[in-house]
């Protein structure tokens, strides 16, 4: 009973705290006025240091212009601030934001803006429908902290968004966010062109593909290659990186992942209260965001992807974080060595477990017959079907002067393995022959088979002989 009451009480208090934050932010007095510092992706305006709410004046200019979507491919982007994504806006809980939406006179289209940080009709869209050559102004108080998407919401909305009209606004919590060495801005979007992926030239928007949700391009920051090569994000070993990641859509959800890294902390869906730790891939919905911190321990190039993989490798959802600095072999050794790996039938190099016991041959003819099977299963891969070997790789067994009539040498070779230079029939070989963990009987059979084929003299090898002359494998 008391437990139930306690739960209810804490729920009520938590609810109280939540609404108190909005109410507090409404009541927070606004001191002074400043012009917003905006930034183009992948950069982010600096963290806010002031400890009070202020009036922030934001000017965003809408510009329709042709730009690069991929190599050789251009697209008419409708942009906030001349680029896709639009400028990153950074304010603090309780701030009063006065937003001017300026529609450049050269533009053809009407535009408006919906910021997910706004509490009010259309997120501002209801007050900002603007014809070319005009400007709309409205203001809002930032009541909730978080990383929010903003986008154009003029009908048809999907088309305005598909043409690149989105960006991020960060409403910092009052206490700010943990400090990191680098903050970067990444925003994913899907693009629908009439031509197929890779088709060159100015590509018009395809309404059919947009409605069917079949994009030709899925990219970060408005173009394939925007975060690769010279445009890659950078950091040094030992530093911490934060990515503010948005997904403008219009349609696809992103499975955001950095190959070779783990997100130490994720603030899922752009919230600023609850974190998730040690996340490999975080889901970012269309019209949503997430931000994440991670430490850099080793150098290298870390690939940023939407882990819906064909989007990364075939449609452009691929970026790079290039890290320089000292290696740390303990954390990541890199390749230690390169070895031969030849799994063949039962005769694996150091066979664990008992191999099945083959039937014992009664006589030489029997040994030759059974030996053929053993040869085919174990030796043929290298020494070839007719014992001809492979020049410069594997010595021949046919008419082999190495074998000669020295059965002991043959037994030692098969049981002990052979490394290093060896000359057979006038040719030098320098390879590795593994030691074979075959039974005495099997070795007797295969050697008898070899000696009785391809001009090798016709000796007979018995299992007793193998047993007597067997050696342990080298090294």
């Amino acid at each position: 009973m008391f437990k139930c009451l306690a739960v209810l009480a804490s729920l009520a208090l938590a609810g109280q705290a939540w609404s108190a934050t909005r109410d507090q932010n409404i009541a927070d007095p606004v001191e002074g006025v400043e012009n917003a510092v905006l930034a183009d992706a992948p950069l982010v305006p600096p963290p806010i240091t002031r400890k009070h709410a202020t009036k922030v004046v934001v000017h965003i200019e809408v510009k329709e212009q042709e730009g690069k979507l991929a190599d050789g491919v251009t697209y008419t982007f409708w942009t906030f601030g001349g680029k896709v994504p639009g400028k990153f806006i950074r304010v603090r809980e309780g701030d009063l934001v006065e937003l001017h939406l300026d529609n450049h006179p050269d533009n053809k289209m009407p535009h408006n803006i919906d910021l997910h940080a706004v509490i009010g009709p259309g997120g501002g869209a209801a007050s900002t429908l603007t014809a070319p050559g005009h400007s709309s102004v409205f203001s809002f108080k930032a009541l909730n902290p978080g990383l929010y998407v903003y986008h154009c919401a003029t009908a048809p909305v999907a088309m305005h968004v598909a043409n690149g009209m989105y960006g991020l606004i960060l409403v910092e919590p009052k206490e700010g966010l943990p400090k990191v060495d680098h903050e970067y801005y990444v925003m994913q979007g899907d693009f629908y062109t009439q031509g197929a992926n890779g088709e060159k030239g100015l590509q018009p928007f395809s309404m059919e593909k947009a409605i069917s949700e079949k994009p030709e391009y899925v990219v970060f920051n408005g173009a394939a290659g925007s975060l690769t090569g010279d445009n890659a994000l950078t950091a040094k070993v030992g530093e911490t990186v934060r990515l503010y990641v948005g997904n403008g859509g219009p349609n696809l959800t992103s499975s955001f992942h950095v190959i070779g890294e783990i997100f130490d902390t994720v603030w899922p869906e752009g919230n600023t209260k609850a974190t998730a730790k040690n996340v490999q891939t975080t889901m970012i919905p269309a019209g949503g965001s997430a931000f994440m911190d991670f430490k850099i321990n080793v150098p290298g190039t870390f690939i940023i992807v939407d882990h819906s993989l064909t989007r990364a490798f075939n449609r452009g959802a691929l970026g790079q974080l290039k890290v320089s600095g000292e290696e740390n072999k303990l954390v990541y050794s890199g390749k230690i060595s390169d070895e031969v790996y030849l799994p063949e039938g039962a005769g694996v190099r150091t066979a664990g477990g008992a191999a099945p016991v083959p039937p014992k041959a009664a006589d030489k003819a029997g040994r030759i017959k059974l030996g053929e099977e053993v040869f085919k299963s174990n030796c043929m891969a290298c020494h070839q079907e007719n014992g001809q070997g492979v020049p410069e790789a594997f010595p021949p067994l046919a008419k082999s002067d190495y074998l000669g009539s020295d059965k002991v040498k043959a037994i030692k070779t098969v049981t002990g393995g052979l490394q290093g230079k060896v000359t057979v029939n006038g040719q030098t070989f320098d390879g590795v022959m593994p030691a074979w963990s075959l039974s005495d009987e099997e070795i007797a059979e295969v050697l008898t088979y070899i000696y009785n084929n391809w001009g090798n003299g016709g000796a007979d090898v018995t299992s007793d002989e193998v047993k007597a002359h067997r050696v342990a494998p080298n090294d």
């Binding site: 329709e64 212009q65 042709e66 008419t76 006179p105 050269d106 533009n107 053809k108 289209m109 009407p110 408006n112 009709p121 259309g122 869209a125 209801a126 429908l129 603007t130 014809a131 070319p132 050559g133 005009h134 919401a153 003029t154 009908a155 048809p156 999907a158 088309m159 100015l202 018009p204 928007f205 309404m207 409605i211």
Partner: protein, 248 residues
């Protein structure tokens, strides 16, 4: 008195019906934003200019109606960008007489039409002319989307380049946006910014409005554009043409 006399004289001097007009038969058409009754709208037969009004035609108008020149027009009728691309009151851009005139406000467009004994077409009349009884609907939509897909060019095309549709009307799309007499009705209807919302009940009536075809992005854009305008606005790619009733 003198002023009215001048008007009389200039009216006499005006070339009658400066643009060619096509006669459109009446008919039912389904407007893009379907209204309460969800019935097709009946459009009575009417006449419509075959092309948008050009720089040359508008020059004739301001020559004889000096109160509409850019140095004289009252601000209530046209914002400061009115005819911005004209070098002065009587000098349109050189060598472009047949370009659609732009940077024209709704009041100026209406006054021009009135001077011809015409009016701006209603949105229904304009859209009816565009639907062209469904002829080449796919090609028209493609043409519109292609026009949306490129930024404004440095130069507008000439009206002479526009091909007439089945009604003989040319250049409704692909050239410039065009004023209609009731452009603001676009806002009073579906409340484009908050589809389905009555904007806090601040609209009388007209509740249940929705788009006929949610996949018709081309039309959505046209209605959005109209909704963004005020009557005194001008934009660099907004022009007009005139309509009239059938002669009796």
């Amino acid at each position: 008195m003198i002023k009215e006399g001048l008007l009389l004289l200039s009216a006499a001097a005006l070339p009658c019906a400066a643009a060619d007009m096509a006669t459109l038969p009446g008919g039912n058409y389904s407007p893009f934003f379907v209204r309460k009754a969800a019935k097709p709208v009946a459009v009575a037969p009417f006449r419509l200019d075959t092309t948008p009004v050009t720089n040359e035609e508008f020059l004739n108008f301001v020559t004889t109606h000096p109160q509409w020149r850019k140095s004289a027009v009252p601000r209530i009728f046209a914002e400061p960008g009115y005819l911005a691309h004209w070098r002065d009151d009587l000098t349109p851009p050189g060598g472009r007489p047949h370009q659609p005139v732009t940077n024209i406000s709704w009041f100026a467009a209406g006054a021009y039409c009135a001077a011809q004994g015409k009016t701006l077409p209603s949105t229904d009349q304009w859209e009816y002319a565009l639907t062209d009884r469904g002829r080449d609907a796919g090609a028209v939509r493609k043409q519109i989307l292609a026009w949306y897909a490129v930024p404004n060019g440095a130069e507008l095309a000439s009206v002479d380049d526009a091909r007439p549709n089945g009604y003989g009307v040319a250049g409704l799309v692909g050239l410039v946006w065009e004023w209609t007499s009731d452009f603001s009705a676009a806002m009073a209807g579906p409340e484009l910014r908050n589809v389905g919302d009555k904007n806090g009940g601040l609209f009388c009536g007209g509740g249940s409005l929705g788009a006929k075809d949610a996949a018709d992005y081309a039309s959505f854009m046209r209605y959005s554009f109209r909704a963004s305008l005020k009557a005194s606005y001008v934009t660099a790619n907004l022009g007009f043409r005139c309509a009239s009733e059938l002669p009796r």
